[in-house]
Symmetry: C2
Subunit: 190 residues, 2 copies
DNA sequence: CCTATTTCTAAACAATCGCTAAGAAATTGA
DNA sequence: TCAATTTCTTAGCGATTGTTTAGAAATAGG
């Protein structure tokens, strides 16, 4: 009965995500989104409600992408420490594709909004953080021969998590070799 | 001959810096600046040229502040490792005053603009980075009994530097104890 | 005093922001 | 073919952006 859409939601969401990731959410205008997504503003609002809704879908899209590219391989791996290192190195590649250094969309968004981030967006982000921490916990147990108590493991996990945020920021202006050196040093003690 | 100014430049610069630090540069409007600086827009433009010039002066103000509060004490200290730890802990306090977690203005600005940061602003930022790295180099030599070759020390310095950026971001949403644990673990290997 | 110089106030500039209204174009069932 | 429904195009809404202008208020030297 109705007219057919001339776009696919997941495709335009991916393009919006790329823009938000690169420029930040509030520094990405609806005009630019309209241009890069290839659909006009009416269609964006019809499909996503408002800019906040679009950013939320873009964050989901990012999470799916990084989960598939980085988190699942980490989960599947069996060699503990080396797997964590691979996650960190691949995280760098993921954060800067074809010469453009974007950092991590999650970290960027935290830094953009601080504590005043939208509640739904925050929940979406925390879900990935929880998943990552859960998998890291498992890998740290794999990495150590002797048994570790839960507190110690949690410290390790937080240590890696905060280090990843450092990598996210510094990947935007430091040399790759310096970042690799950081990863090596950071993993020496696990 | 002329009329006298009703404000002092360093005072209004400090107030602008606080706003930029908390909200980011592009998310701080001239109207808000006018309100918080206590002078009107004409005076801002007469005194600082444009918003970019104001941001530059604000960055200089931040650098002076953090240099005096954190870097100089670090430089004066003699106990190497403990001094670095104190710098990191005080960096946390400095990044979040009276319950408001702002992170580091330098890190925030990198994350806001990425590689496309204004050249003058970038130079201003790199100057502090260079100073910090120079002092850290000295402290690491202090901290170790045996002699270290320059490459190794540079790795330690980069390691601490990237860790500080992780602290800047995560300080905006993580618990203080988790951040302290991070600092302890980070310094274990030096 | 008067006049030159500077800083103030207040208003407005064009451009852009997120968002929406009005109607044409397209697709389907009847 | 006709009518119903949805998506499209186009234009514009009011608000806010960074910035500037016109003129009043204040301070000094002559």
């Amino acid at each position: 009965m109705p007219r057919k859409k001339e776009y696919q939601k997941d495709e335009v969401t991916e393009k919006a995500m790329q823009l938000f990731w690169k420029n930040g959410i509030s520094n990405t205008s609806m005009r630019l989104l309209e241009k890069q997504m290839g659909i006009n503003q009416f269609s964006i609002y019809a499909c996503f409600g408002d800019k906040k809704g679009l950013a939320l879908e873009a964050m989901r899209c990012y999470k799916d992408k990084i989960t598939q590219s980085l988190l699942e391989p980490l989960r599947q791996s069996t060699d503990g420490k080396e797997a964590i290192k691979k996650y960190c190195v691949d995280f760098l590649g993921f954060s800067s594709s074809n010469g453009i250094h974007k950092g991590c969309f999650l970290t960027n968004t935290i830094d953009e909004y601080g504590a005043e981030v939208d509640e739904l967006l925050k929940q979406e982000m925390l879900e990935y953080v929880d998943n990552l921490k859960e998998v890291l916990t498992e890998k740290i147990h794999q990495a150590t021969s002797h048994t570790l108590d839960n507190t110690t493991v949690a410290h390790y996990v937080n240590y890696i998590f905060i280090s990843l945020q450092g990598l996210s920021v510094s990947s935007q202006f430091m040399k790759k070799q310096e970042l690799i050196n950081f990863i090596d040093m950071m993993l020496q003690k696990i």
